[in-house]
């Protein structure tokens, strides 16, 4: 996206017409070249390590080579362990994310839309936000027990704040001039929300959701480290206690894959709604 921004102004307008297909194809090449370039470093490092272990420069016991990690994952997949742990973690993140998003969206919308509510509510929320969320862990365990409820609550607390802030900030920063256009066309309250506020807020909301999801993944690890009998976080702890670094790395790789995939899902689902923004990136601002 960012790569095409520096296209000169003349080429930008050309990009829409078929006669500029050579430019379009070079742009396509650059679009694929970008991710490939990003893969070079991690893949290169992994291969170098694989070769180093294979040649005997290291025994690879503490830092197992990629094939060993992959083999561990396959082994867990075959025994059904993997799907048990993954589904446990996914359901925790799903529940916590869902709760956090609902609460954050509702309170954020109320605070953003209604001045009195913001003055009433926002200072408290901001004060709570200043507390490192992990500090709640002992309290959550005391209140909600060691099982699922406290874990989901911790994840939800992590997701809540970025979503709340994102929604409130987005509503507050809606361009008053655009709202005025709605007024001149005499939109009713609900129509104003549906036709002006929601689309205006959506881009920032998607960003807030993605930040919230990222924090959800962060907090699920914390939640599962504080005592669980299944889940990817449990695999981490188990690997540490039994001295199985391949298992730890396998869990980390799966975390990375799941985190990236769920983030990508949000992107895919919301992409059609944000096409107008996409045009901005592709056209580089349009004059």
């Amino acid at each position: 996206m960012a790569m095409t921004v520096e296209l000169p102004a003349l080429e930008r307008t050309d990009a829409m017409t078929p006669k500029a297909s050579s430019k379009a194809s070079s742009a396509r090449l650059r679009r694929y070249a970008g991710p490939a370039l990003g893969l070079l470093l991690p893949v290169g490092l992994a291969m170098a390590w694989e070769i180093a272990v294979w040649l005997g420069y290291s025994n690879g016991r503490l830092v197992p080579p990629p094939t060993k990690i992959f083999a561990t994952i396959m082994e867990m997949a075959k025994s059904g362990e993997l799907s048990r742990h993954v589904s446990a973690t996914l359901s925790r993140v799903g529940a916590g994310f869902g709760l956090g998003v609902v609460a954050g969206t509702l309170l954020g919308a109320i605070s953003g839309y209604w001045d009195l509510a913001r003055r009433l509510l926002d200072p408290t929320v901001q004060a709570l936000r200043a507390i490192p969320s992990l500090a709640w862990v002992p309290l959550f365990i005391l209140w909600l027990g060691i099982f699922e409820t406290s874990k989901v609550a911790l994840i939800a607390a992590g997701v809540f704040f970025p979503v709340y802030l994102g929604v409130m900030g987005a509503i507050l920063s809606v361009d008053r001039k655009i709202v005025e256009v709605g007024r001149t066309f005499r939109l009713s309250g609900p129509a104003m929300i549906r036709r002006i506020l929601l689309p205006a807020v959506l881009p920032a909301y998607v960003v807030a959701l993605r930040v919230g999801l990222g924090l959800g993944w962060m907090f699920v690890v914390a939640a599962e480290l504080m005592g669980a009998s299944e889940g990817l976080g449990y695999l981490l702890l188990d690997g540490q206690q039994l001295g199985k670094p391949a298992q730890i790395l396998a869990a980390i790789v799966i975390f990375a894959i799941l985190g990236k995939t769920t983030d990508w899902l949000i992107e895919i689902v919301t992409a059609p709604l944000l096409r107008w923004q996409d045009a901005f990136g592709r056209q580089g601002g349009g004059g």
């Binding site: 001039k177 655009i178 005025e180 256009v181 007024r183 001149t184 066309f185 005499r186 129509a191 036709r195 002006i196 689309p199 205006a200 959506l202 107008w276 923004q277 045009a279 901005f280 056209q283 601002g285 349009g286 004059g287």
Partner: protein, 261 residues
């Protein structure tokens, strides 16, 4: 008829922006309101649009008091203010949402062709140039066929060439249904080329200073001596309006007051 009767506005912060502005604007007339900064011309336009309520006085359109945005009044702002998430066609049709899709589509297509942007129907607002975007804004305001169209320095953000082009284009569009145009501007050339009547305002607080009728047939030749003559009259009035020693020339606001003493 659009009747402004002693319209005044004092903002909550105490700024006295507009004082007892009265004018009767006939149907189909083009009126330009011109004045230095702080003369309350935008305040006046927002009061006519119903976006802000006047503190004193009344705005009436055909005997109906205007206190909030009205279906028969359209407005074009200095910026196009297009909705970035709607295509050009959807932006133009924004004010027609109460009409069935096929009627709306037809009107939008005709409007697109009329402002010369038929090929941009599916484009996003970001892909338009400044002049094109303002054309879309004009089309959006005109498509619901308002009786009164208000323009708040509509071309001031554009380059001189595009501005002239759009001024001519606006007159052309006006000729279709002949709505009443009330144009706020700080460009003397623009006022004289468009208006039947130029209302010169003076600042602090904003009030009517002088009224100049432009008796020139359209289309007007910007190079003609008559055109220059009217420009000079407006310019002189503007200069005088900024001079504190010159009393208000408007008989309605000061002469009446003097008699009360």
């Amino acid at each position: 008829m659009l009747a402004l009767d002693r319209v005044g506005k004092t903002y909550p912060n105490g700024v006295h922006a507009l004082e007892r502005f009265s004018a009767d604007i006939r149907r189909g007339e083009i009126v330009a309101i011109i004045g230095g900064s702080g003369c309350g011309k935008s305040t006046l336009l927002r009061a006519i649009a119903g976006l802000d309520r006047a503190s004193t006085g009344t705005v009436r359109l055909d005997e109906e008091a205007i206190t909030s945005p009205h279906a028969k009044i359209g407005i074009i702002f200095q910026e196009p203010r297009l909705l970035p998430w709607l295509s050009v066609a959807d932006n133009i049709g924004f004010g027609l949402s109460d009409q069935p899709a096929n009627v709306r589509g037809g009107k939008v297509l005709r409007a697109l062709a009329r402002v010369g942007l038929a090929d941009k129907a599916k484009a996003w607002p970001r892909e338009l140039s400044g002049g094109q975007a303002q054309r879309v804004a004009i089309a959006r305001a005109l498509v619901p066929q308002p009786e009164v169209l208000l323009l708040d320095e509509p071309f001031s953000a554009l380059d001189a060439f595009t501005r002239r082009d759009l001024q001519d284009h606006l007159l052309d569009l006006w000729n279709d249904t002949r709505p009443t145009l009330v144009l706020v501007t700080h460009d003397v050339d623009e006022a004289v080329v468009l208006a039947d009547r130029v209302l010169v305002m003076r600042p602090r607080p904003g009030r009517l200073f002088e009224e100049i009728k432009i008796n020139l047939a359209r289309p007007r030749d910007r190079q003609s001596p008559h055109f220059d003559n009217f420009k000079r009259r407006v310019l002189t009035a503007l200069d005088r309006s900024l001079d504190r020693n010159v009393p208000d020339a408007d008989p309605k606001s000061t002469a009446g007051e003097a008699m009360w003493w």
